[in-house]
């Protein structure tokens, strides 16, 4: 009897994680489950004892949990936005990247959406938001935007999965019942292909403004208060740019890791990293531009309350985090991506950016809270094991989600790769021909 994966032809390796999970899979699963389980224990402890187990105090009422909330939701822009924009612009190099990115979005959105509940003093009263909600509060705008985005990303992830699930239903050996249910009777007829394509096109177009709105309303959480260095009109575009920036970085990190552990070198080639690396470089400079603009407008008029926050970040207790952020978000990535643009350089730059963008959220939230307008005694905020543990638990949950997805579905859109082989080259040829003035030119 033929081995199951030999049915899949030249793309068989993409199905290996499903049919041949190595020992590494179980080791990784156990590690992530342990970390996530510990985080769940820490949270249950916090639920019963109260938020006193964190390092929060007055005036730093918001810190780690809200930083992580913004951080995780920011990463969610990776997937869907990049995948949608690349598909809309018909960039051929998107083919192995789209699903990797889309999975990131869905998993990280779920984890991010948990964080406001983790941060609540009385999560058992969470239903009060629905019973007594006030839409004047930016928290409800968040609720709406994140729900809409979650639904959009899930549908946008699912629709392109259908042909691949049908492939596994027909040719594979495991989980046949699951694939039969999820493939919705897909058989590859032209009518069905057309339906899926049309559905995908509508979702592609809708997802982009929804994604922009999500991080905009998250920035409004801060911008709608009068606090110094929060009440800034630049917050909405600043956060969206930051989200795309951190999302691209995490996408690159995930791509490098997946390429290594699943041996996807023939699919995730250097050219893919180079292109995304260029996007990362552009986003880094764009982020730098926004940051410069924000700090210059704060510094110039020397308004006392805002300057208090400004100096706290520049030379005060948060100087190490602030300048660390500038180094990891701007200096190191720009240098690396300009001069050492191979996969290793891009990997280091992406890790730096991931750390730097987390630091940026910390730098936005805590210094404004510590620098109260009235002269109260304030200390230096230090997170406790609970907060750090839950943060690591969030990361572990992300890895777990990804691992489980990889166990059940191919990480790379197989049908899109096959489409690229069969139709992509001719389509691109025709397209280039249509740009050129002389119709008789033969482009090979």
């Amino acid at each position: 009897m033929k081995r199951a994966d030999e049915h899949f032809g030249e793309d068989a390796i993409l199905f290996d994680p499903i049919y041949k999970p190595g020992k590494g899979f179980y080791v990784a699963l156990s590690v992530f489950l342990a970390v996530a389980g510990f985080a769940v224990y820490l949270y249950i402890r916090q639920y019963f004892l109260g938020l006193g187990v964190t390092g929060l105090n007055r005036p730093v009422f918001w810190s780690f949990y809200i930083v992580n909330f913004v951080f995780f939701i920011g990463i969610s822009h990776a997937g869907t936005l990049i995948s949608a924009i690349l598909r809309l612009s018909k960039a051929e190099w998107r083919r192995p990247i789209t699903r990797v990115a889309e999975i990131i979005t869905v998993v990280v959105l779920l984890i991010g959406a948990l964080h406001p509940i983790i941060d609540m003093g009385r999560p058992d009263r969470a239903l009060n938001v629905f019973l007594y909600g006030r839409y004047q509060s930016p928290l409800l705008w968040d609720l709406t935007a994140i729900t809409t985005y979650l639904m959009a990303s899930t549908v946008y992830l699912y629709l392109p999965m259908i042909p691949d699930i049908a492939m596994m239903r027909d040719k594979g050996t495991k989980f046949k019942w699951l694939y039969t249910i999820l493939s919705w009777g897909y058989e590859g007829t032209p009518a069905q292909k057309h339906v899926i394509e049309k559905g995908m096109t509508i979702m592609m177009v809708m997802v982009v403004p929804i994604a922009v709105s999500v991080h905009t309303v998250i920035s409004y959480l801060f911008a709608m208060t009068v606090q110094p260095m929060w009440h800034s009109t630049i917050f909405a575009p600043y956060f969206v740019v930051g989200a795309i920036f951190s999302g691209t970085a995490v996408l690159l990190v995930v791509m490098v890791v997946l390429r290594k552990i699943y041996h996807l070198e023939t699919y995730l080639k250097e050219i893919h990293f180079k292109h995304l690396g260029t996007i990362l470089l552009v986003m880094s400079l764009l982020w730098g531009y926004f940051t410069f603009s924000e700090y210059l407008t704060t510094y110039y008029p020397q308004e006392p309350h805002e300057m208090k926050v400004f100096w706290y970040k520049f030379i005060g207790p948060y100087a190490v985090f602030f300048w660390g952020m500038v180094a990891t978000n701007l200096v190191i990535p720009v240098l690396l991506l300009s001069f050492k643009k191979d996969i290793k350089g891009i990997f280091i730059a992406s890790i730096c950016v991931s750390i730097g963008m987390w630091l940026e959220r910390l730098n936005i939230i805590v210094p404004s809270l510590v620098s109260t307008r009235l002269p109260y005694p304030t200390g230096f905020y230090v997170p406790t094991l609970t907060e750090v543990g839950i943060f690591l638990g969030g990361i572990a949950l992300f890895c777990l989600g990804y691992l489980l997805f990889a166990k059940l579905f191919p990480l790379i859109t197989v049908w899109e790769i096959q489409e690229g082989r069969e139709h992509g080259i001719k389509e691109v040829n025709d397209r280039i021909r249509s740009y050129l003035p002389d119709k008789k030119i033969d482009v090979i």
């Binding site: 839409y135 629709l159 009777g185 069905q192 929804i210």
Partner: protein, 81 residues
């Protein structure tokens, strides 16, 4: 017959994603309408709830419709026989 039953169960389970997205879309619509009513009853200003609902509700319904369209389209487009 066993195959027939299995086919029926599978058909019902296949409906689940469609049911879930419509539940979210309709649930959110109900929630926003309830909030607008509550805002009116408390003599608060419902303008922003109305404004957001004018954007969010069509979006959610469109997404649910897209999924339903794909579901129905796939069932219809099957090979005959």
């Amino acid at each position: 017959m066993k195959n027939g039953n299995a086919g029926k169960i599978i058909s019902i389970l296949q409906l689940f994603p469609v049911i879930i997205v419509w539940s979210i879309a309709l649930g959110f619509t109900t929630f926003i309408i309830y909030i607008i009513n509550l805002s009116n009853a408390l003599e608060d200003k419902p303008s922003i709830a109305v404004g957001i609902s004018l954007v969010a509700i069509p979006l959610l319904w469109t997404m649910a419709s897209v999924l339903t369209y794909v579901f129905v389209g796939l069932k219809r487009g099957r090979k005959k026989g």
